[in-house]
Symmetry: C2
């Protein structure tokens, strides 16, 4: 469990109760949509406004506290920022799981970027398919 108040201040943002609750919800979900974040956060803080969620998600993405994960055909999800990793996305149940980034893939993409004179900053790797549970059904 993180010290979110500290994390926010480092990013130049005030540590409001709303922001901390939002971050806690995202942490517990792993990946969550705006709507999920809102629905879950108002359980702890009923006066929270949806507009506040939007404003904060945007702000925290901008400040690098959160990371945006667009998901083909579904709503965008948000996760706490961390090192590069791979998303395994189940197209049946919608679950998103993180897997550590493979060293070798890292290498490949870095060298591709270098040879293309492309200044690589961030990468998004989404693998879509069926998770183990959904293959049975």
């Amino acid at each position: 469990m993180y010290d979110f108040a500290e994390r926010l201040k480092e990013a130049g943002l005030k540590a409001t109760i709303q922001r901390i609750f939002i971050l806690e919800v995202i942490e517990s979900y792993g990946h969550a949509t705006i709507e999920e974040i809102y629905e879950e956060t108002i359980k702890k803080h009923p006066s929270l406004s949806l507009a506040t969620v939007y404003k904060n998600i945007l702000l925290m993405v901008e400040k690098g506290v959160l990371n945006e994960v667009p998901v083909t055909g579904k709503k965008t999800k948000y996760e706490l920022s961390k090192e590069d990793h791979i998303h395994l996305i189940c197209t049946s149940c919608g679950k998103v799981e993180d897997r550590p980034y493979l060293e070798d893939a890292q290498q490949l993409f870095s060298s591709l970027s270098r040879s293309e004179h492309f200044a690589l900053r961030q990468q998004l790797i989404n693998l879509y398919g069926l998770c183990h549970a959904c293959q049975s059904a």
Copy 2:
């Protein structure tokens, strides 16, 4: 240049003039947003309605004629379906370029999927950074 009429029929869709124009626009753009597609297509076919663009894009994605490319922080783009490839996305000018998928990366992700009991179907690899042109500025 593709035979789009044929491509549509294969997918079980009628080859209407609207759909063909839409596909031509996407082909010439490489990657385009709904709005770009609409704005460009009405030049050739002024009576086209925006609702028709939405309906068709959705349908053609579903039928596998088009491929959806979500772009972090920007509007979703659409491309003609083709083999797996890598997107180099410039966060400054917004340009999206395709690069052939690296054999080795293919291997890595396949074997990761296998060991996770994940039935891999599709992959999205977006590399974000600055293109050569934008690095100078």
